[in-house]
């Protein structure tokens, strides 16, 4: 057992030195994890009511493209802060506001008023006028924003890119159509 290391004053001091570094390092690094994770927020923190403009831009029975500036815009965002969405004026005070993003992989869907279909250019997802899945790879209908009418203007609760991760918030209303 002569190879066994002897505990000397120096080895103890070295061990303490390592431990000291570990403590200081952890004390500095652990709060910084919070910095790295700071983009993660509750869904409600990424949603704000925002106006799409006067109701008369959206004639009854039609589906029109509307754009808004993201409520959490930063100066360096440039034009990426602009967000499009599809507004369907069903009748009276009933609207449907669809996210532009296909429920498959987020590409921008286009509205075809003649056939009353939304088509996606990426993988061919197709949706009916009411946002229900019609065909293609999406596993559910289009995402919808909650809306309300304030003083003759259409307001939607928006701010976050809709994805399959937050179905609970965005899937309100229609159940996903698993065709």
């Amino acid at each position: 057992m002569s190879e066994k290391k002897q505990v000397t004053r120096r080895t103890v001091l070295m061990a303490i030195g390592f431990a000291f570094n570990a403590v200081v390092g952890a004390a500095i690094a652990i709060p910084v994890i919070g910095y790295v994770l700071s983009p993660i927020k509750k869904k409600s923190a990424y949603l704000k009511w925002i106006s799409l403009g006067a109701l008369d831009q959206f004639p009854e029975g039609q589906t029109r493209l509307a754009t808004f500036v993201n409520p959490f815009e930063q100066p360096q965002d440039g034009e990426t802060a602009k967000t499009p969405c599809w507004v369907r004026h069903v009748s009276g005070d009933t609207f449907q506001v669809f996210a532009i993003n296909c429920a498959h992989l987020g590409c921008p869907v286009r509205w075809f008023p003649q056939s009353e279909l939304f088509m996606c250019p990426c993988h061919g997802g197709v949706y009916y006028a009411d946002g229900e899945r019609a065909s293609g790879p999406p596993e559910r209908g289009l995402f919808t924003y909650n809306y309300k009418i304030v003083k003759g203007e259409l307001h939607i609760n928006a701010g976050q890119m809709p994805t399959l991760a937050d179905q609970a918030m965005l899937g309100k209303g229609k159940s996903p159509c698993l065709g």
């Binding site: 965002d77 990426t80 590409c107 293609g136 596993e139 890119m161």
Partner: protein
């Protein structure tokens, strides 16, 4: 001359590099490995160096800001002397690097070079491949155009499918609630600091192991790798039948590296830089997002998966694939190296290569995507309606106006999402056509709510004319039987 020698000695006395460098470059390698098959690793290293140098030059001008990135690329392309050339070299260099790394990997696999004692060299190589692909993807994001923007959307949508932590992962990926300035900044940090830093460290370790463990000998059928005897055998081989790495093997590496660099430069000059495409304005929805060449195969696979399989597939299969690659040298660390004695390995390799090729080819054609403007830009061939009745012509109008053409081709033009309709009348009867139009099915939307009865009638009349000359239309056998029965005289 003596002055130079003295200068050399002054540095050498302080650096003491001569010993290790001589050992590294003069170590004997098996004679047969001084071959043109062994040049891909060094070529990949050369391309990595090219990427770093051109990347630094581009970083002098590029602005990693959501509002300015696109304009700074435009400036590089059009306003700065040779800015376009550096962008083109960096873009083509990236394509060549992915290709050369893949070829290198195929060569190493085919020659059994991942076996004992080079397991860790292979495992590190797998991570280096992943980082090379990571560089390609993050680089595509830095090109901050419409493809980059919607490519990020695809990335976020895949992330969001992770159970439980999908939402936080998307937030982390995007650096905020949407694809915007913060997203670009973090991809810049990944592309310029994080991934290259690790990649350089891994490359140095990878090359260190190649030098220390020696270049893999040329595989001979029947020469079996055993952990107990291999090192001894390899040592004898290099002693008995070896050549010093410098210059006997190195000159081929140098020639090939120079040829690859020249090829990158020729591509850069002839084809120019990649993009940037349209400005990253999300409100321009008239866009057709496509990933770069090396991700087209993923794009293809994503379009063919049935909805219920997609999430498990995209989340689990890549992990399984990576695990198989990592486990390969640990599981198959001994045995035959020669491809003559490894039929399963070669079959797997060929299958993967052919699948990769097929899916990439499909990704360049995207037959699954509707042709968004086919309905208004591809006219119905005149011969089809030249002698047609007014009702049939009206049907042709309905066919175009309702965007059927976006998914169905006639006369070779139109979408390919649905079947071509040139001979639909030989396949479907009137009843079947009506049912298909109204109810959809088989991946076609139902048009029942959107078409009036007269429109349906006209459309189906038109579809019934679509058959090659001289061919019989489809008939419903049971209906004919009914008719025959009805026409028979009652007993």
């Amino acid at each position: 001359m003596p002055r130079l020698k003295r200068l050399y000695n002054w540095f050498e006395m302080r650096l003491q590099l001569e010993g290790p460098v001589k050992e590294a470059v003069l170590h004997p390698v098996p004679k047969k490995t001084a071959s043109w098959f062994y040049v891909f690793g060094s070529a990949a290293t050369t391309l990595l160096a090219l990427q770093i140098i051109t990347g630094i030059f581009l970083a002098l001008i590029y602005v990693p800001s959501g509002s300015d990135a696109w304009r700074s690329l435009d400036q590089l392309n059009h306003q700065l002397y040779l800015g376009w050339f550096l962008r083109a070299m960096h873009g083509w260099g990236s394509n060549f690097m992915v290709a050369v790394v893949l070829v290198h990997m195929v060569q190493v696999f085919t020659f059994g070079a991942y076996k004992f004692p080079r397991e860790l060299t292979w495992i590190l190589g797998v991570f280096m491949l992943l980082m090379t692909l990571g560089m390609a993807f993050t680089g595509q994001v830095l090109r901050f155009d419409q493809d980059a923007y919607w490519g990020l959307g695809i990335g976020a949508s895949i992330m969001s499918r992770v159970p439980l932590i999908g939402g936080p992962l998307v937030d982390l990926l995007l650096g905020g609630p949407i694809i915007a300035g913060a997203t670009l900044s973090r991809f810049f940090a990944l592309h310029v600091f994080v991934i290259p830093g690790i990649l350089l460290l891994f490359t140095a370790t990878h090359i260190w192991m190649v030098v220390k463990l020696g270049v893999n000998e040329w595989p001979m059928p029947g020469r079996i790798v055993r952990r107990s005897t291999y090192l001894q055998e390899y040592h004898e081989l290099t002693k008995k039948d070896g050549l010093p790495f410098l210059p006997d093997a190195l000159w081929k590496d140098l020639f090939f590296s120079a040829a690859i660099l020249a090829a990158v430069a020729v591509c850069a000059v002839v084809f120019g830089p990649f993009g940037p495409g349209g400005q990253p304005d999300p409100t321009i929805i008239q866009t057709n997002p496509r990933p770069d060449f090396f991700f087209l195969w993923i794009f293809s696979i994503l379009s063919y998966l049935p909805p219920s399989l997609e999430t498990p597939f995209v989340l689990i299969v890549p992990i399984i694939g990576i695990c198989i690659l990592l486990a390969l040298p640990l599981v198959a660390g001994e045995g035959e190296k020669s491809w003559h004695r490894r039929p399963v390995a070669i079959l797997v390799l060929v299958t993967v290569a052919v699948s990769f090729g097929v899916f990439t080819h499909l990704g360049t054609r995207t037959p699954w995507s509707p042709h968004m403007d086919a309905w208004s830009s591809n006219p119905v061939p005149p011969r089809l309606i030249h002698d047609a009745s007014p009702l049939v012509r009206q049907g042709a109008v309905v066919f175009q106006a309702k965007q059927c053409r976006n998914c169905h081709s006639i006369g070779g033009t139109g979408g390919e999402r649905g079947p071509a309709l040139d001979d639909v009348a030989t396949r479907m009867t009137e009843d079947q056509l009506i049912r298909q139009v109204l109810q959809g099915g088989g991946n076609m939307p139902a048009y029942g709510k959107n078409l009036s009865p007269p429109e349906v009638t006209a459309l189906v009349r038109f579809l019934e004319t679509l058959k090659p000359a001289g061919q019989q239309p489809a008939v419903d056998a049971s209906q004919q039987e009914q008719k025959a029965l009805a026409s028979q005289p009652q007993p």
